[in-house]
C-alpha cells in the first residue's frame, strides 16, 4: 500500500479512528482507577503518591505520550472526516427522518467529540498543566501538633526514606534548602537534589470542585462532559470493532453489551467523583 493511502484512504482513516479510540478507552479505564481514589476520605497521601508516580514513571510516560498522540490524532482525523462527510452531501434534504434508521449517538459523533475535546483542553489546563508546569503548585503538607507543647508544625512529605520522609516546612529557607517544582535541593556546598515532595493534586482537586463561587458550575460542566463521553462511547466502542473488521455474529452481541456497559459505567463513575467532592464538603 502506498504510504499516503495509510493516512488518506477512507478505510485507513477508519482504522486510525478505531485504534486510537480503543486505546483511549484503555486510558480512560486507567485514569478512572486513579480518580476513584478521590472517593476515599482523607486520602491525600495515597492519591498524591499515585499522581507523582503517574507523572514520573518512564513506562507511564511512554503511555501518556501515546495518549496525547492518540487524542490529537483522533481529534484531527475526526475533524477531517467530518469535513469530508459534510462535503459529500452539499444539499441537505428538505425533510429528513434519520431517527428511523440510526441512533442519536451514531449521528452526532463529531459534535460529541468536539464537546469532549473542549472538556479535555480545559481539564488539562485545570489539572494537568498545573501539575506539570505550575511553579507555585503547592506541595502536600502534614500538620502535626506536638502534644507536649501544643505547638503545631507543618511537614512536607517527601520521597526520602527514614528521617528524610518528613521535612519540616520551616527548614526550607531558600538558602540551604530550596524547592523547585516538587524537587527539594540542598544548596550548600553544591546543589544536590535531596528529595521530592508530593504536589498536592488532591487539594487542588477538592478546592476546585468546592470553590465557593464556581464549584457547582464546574461540577455540573464536568457531569455534562461525561454525558457527552457516554454517548460518544455508546456508539464508538462497538463501532471501533466494526471499523477494524471485527464483525462476527458470534461476538457482536458480546461486544455490543460490553461497549454499552462501558459507555454507561465509566462516565458515570467519573461523574460521581466531582459530585461527591462537591456535595460532601
Amino acid at each position: 500500500m502506498a504510504k499516503s493511502a495509510l493516512l488518506k484512504s477512507s478505510i485507513a482513516k477508519k482504522y486510525w479512528m478505531a485504534l486510537t479510540g480503543l486505546f483511549l478507552c484503555l486510558f480512560l479505564t486507567g485514569h478512572l482507577a486513579g480518580n476513584l481514589q478521590l472517593l476515599i476520605p482523607d486520602n491525600a497521601s495515597a492519591f498524591n503518591q499515585y499522581a507523582l508516580f503517574m507523572t514520573t514513571n518512564p513506562a507511564v510516560k511512554v503511555l501518556s505520550y501515546l495518549t496525547y498522540i492518540s487524542i490529537i490524532f483522533h481529534a484531527i482525523d475526526g475533524i477531517m472526516l467530518a469535513i469530508q462527510n459534510k462535503k459529500a452531501r452539499p444539499i441537505a434534504y428538505a425533510k429528513n427522518n434519520p431517527s428511523g434508521n440510526s441512533s442519536f449517538a451514531s449521528r452526532n459523533m463529531a459534535v460529541l467529540g468536539t464537546v469532549i475535546l473542549i472538556f479535555i483542553v480545559t481539564h488539562m489546563v485545570t489539572f494537568w498543566a498545573k501539575m506539570h508546569f505550575d511553579k507555585n503548585m503547592p506541595l502536600q503538607t502534614l500538620s502535626v501538633t506536638d502534644e507536649a507543647s501544643g505547638m503545631k508544625q507543618d511537614f512536607y512529605i517527601t520521597t526520602g526514606t527514614g528521617q528524610d520522609k518528613f521535612l519540616p516546612v520551616n527548614q526550607v529557607d531558600g538558602k540551604n534548602l530550596v524547592i523547585e517544582g516538587n524537587k527539594i535541593f540542598i544548596v550548600k556546598p553544591i546543589k544536590v537534589e535531596f528529595a521530592q515532595g508530593y504536589k498536592d493534586l488532591y487539594k487542588i482537586t477538592l478546592d476546585f470542585f468546592r470553590d465557593a463561587k464556581y464549584g457547582l458550575i464546574y461540577t455540573l460542566l464536568y457531569v455534562l462532559a461525561m454525558l457527552a463521553l457516554g454517548f460518544h462511547l455508546w456508539h464508538g466502542f462497538a463501532s471501533a470493532f466494526q471499523s477494524l473488521g471485527l464483525n462476527n455474529p458470534k461476538f457482536n452481541a458480546g461486544i455490543k453489551i460490553f461497549g454499552r456497559a462501558f459507555s454507561v459505567l465509566v462516565p458515570l463513575l467519573f461523574a460521581i467523583i466531582p459530585l461527591y467532592i462537591h456535595f460532601s464538603k
Partner: protein, 252 residues
Amino acid sequence: MSAAKNINITLKIWRQKNADSKGNIETYKLDNVSTASSFLEMLDQLNEQLINERKEPVAFDHDCREGICGMCSLYINGRAHGPETGTTTCQLHMRKFNDGDTIFIEPWRSKAFPVVKDLVVDRSAFDRIQQAGGFVSVNTSGNTIDANSIPIPKDDADKAFMAAACIGCGACVASCKNGSAMLFVGAKVSQYALLPQGKVEATQRVQNMVRQMDEEGFGNCTNTGACEVECPKGISLENIARMNREYLKSSF
C-alpha cells in the same frame, strides 16, 4: 387484506430543470389515489394529471417495477425508498399512507450522485467503482473448469449470494448521513472475497475499488448503520467489516 380505497394527498416534490439549474420544492394536490397502487403508479397518475393540465411532468427513474433493477430511487418523507423497510420505491404501496397525508419526495442527495433532472440522479459513480475491480478476470472461453470442480461450502455460497443481492440503487448513500458508499462497495468486495474464484485477485480488487470510491467524492463510513436499515435488499453491515478486513489484509 385491507380493501383498497381512494385517498387524497398533497405532494411536495423537488423540481429541477437540469444539472446546472437550481431546484426547489413544488406542491401538488392529487386526489383519488387507490391504496392498491404502487408509489410509482401514484406518480404516473400525477404525471397524467400534469400532462392534462399542460404542465411538465415530473421526471423520475424507474424501470422493472418489481424491486430488482435498482433504477428507482426517491427520498420519501425523509427516508430512502420511503417508510417501509426492505422495500424499493416501486414496491412501496399507497396503503402505507393515509388520506390527507403530505408526502415529501426528493432525489438522492450526494455529491457523487448529481441531480440530472427533478428526481433523477446520475449514479454512474457506482459503475466506475465496479469497473475499477468488481469482477473476476476470466475470459469467455467456454473452456473454464467444470462448474462443480471446486466445491464451495453452502454457507459461503449463501453469504456471497446475500452480498451479491445488492441492486445498486444507492439507498445506502442516500440515507447515510455521510453519503458513504461503503455498503455498496463492501457488498461487492465481499461477494468475491467469499468465493474461491474471487480470492485470487482480492488484494488488487479491494485496493482499486476503495480508491475509486474515494475519488468519486463519497463520504466516509461512521458505522451509523442507517444503510443497512434502509437497504431494500437487507445487505448486512458485516460486508463493510469484511471489506475493512480485506483492505487491511491487502495493505501488508
